[in-house]
Assembly symmetry: C2
């Protein structure tokens, strides 16, 4: 049986929610947290070629949805291991991106590898290190990846206020 939801304002609420037509369950759809990292090995940056939709075949940072009870740094470490089999070291928070239409808040860290140890996980076709002028900008999966790559190259350490809303990369 497939749950079927209607968009309406539940009793006692003020906001339109998804309400189950069968049992009345209210799906609040809270904002989701994504944790990820721009990972350096020397002058090179680690990217993963996606093996899943959306943007299959395009390059991305290791990043993904936070699990319950997990911290953002732990999530970034886990995603780097799942997608790139890479034992990364987190250095600092790079930026916070909000994607309004997805109700998504991305916490992206600066990280590095102590050795060039990586291999594609099941969600990746390939994992590779790119010099800055080799990054395949025409085949990047998501605008936030372009933003994070650009921010990571800015000097000056952590942003005073690293929050950016609805980032749009060059198309």
């Amino acid at each position: 049986m497939t749950p079927s939801f209607s968009r309406r304002v539940p009793d006692g609420d003020t906001v339109v929610r998804d309400v189950c037509d069968t049992c009345g369950f209210i799906a609040y759809q809270n904002p989701k947290i994504v944790a990820g990292a721009v990972v350096r090995y020397g002058t090179r940056i680690l990217l993963c070629k996606r093996n899943i939709e959306p943007a299959r075949g395009r390059w991305t940072l290791p990043a993904g949805y936070l699990e319950n009870g997990e911290s953002p740094v732990e999530g970034a470490l886990r995603e780097a291991f799942e997608e790139a089999t890479a034992p990364i070291v987190i250095d600092s928070l790079l930026a916070i991106y909000t994607i309004r239409r997805l109700s998504q808040v991305q916490l992206i860290y600066r990280a590095h590898l102590d050795a060039p140890v990586f291999a594609p996980g099941p969600e990746s076709q390939a994992v590779a290190l790119f010099e800055p002028d080799e990054i395949p900008y025409e085949d990047i999966a998501f605008p936030t990846v372009r933003w994070a790559l650009a921010h990571e190259r800015e000097p000056g350490g952590p942003f005073v206020n690293p929050e950016i809303v609805d980032p749009k990369g060059p198309e």
Copy 2:
């Protein structure tokens, strides 16, 4: 009709979830984001006396759950206005706290007021500015509030890595 959920591993999943006994809806219960601020006016700190449970009658920072499509800074601004009618100015990210048992990630900002403008909102019994040595530490609502107050007084600006997991204040 009240939805009734069982804890089990859905088909094709690997993690125990809450599954509706009536319609099979899977409640993924993603981590929740809290946004809030330590707000200064000169040497004093803004605190709100809670008018709702939990911790009714105790003092807290303006903070609350992020809404869909909202950025963390916007959430911190909204909560300060809802709880303290205070038009705060955000200065920088102070810290990220993860509360594992609540699957909660708190993004707490440094902020200030340009004028001592505030009044209790419906969720507050009172709002007040406290000198550091006047803060009612024996009546603070949550451990994270004690942590944020302590972190805000540390010199040195933003943390290199502001993430702290399961903060515990002095009991």
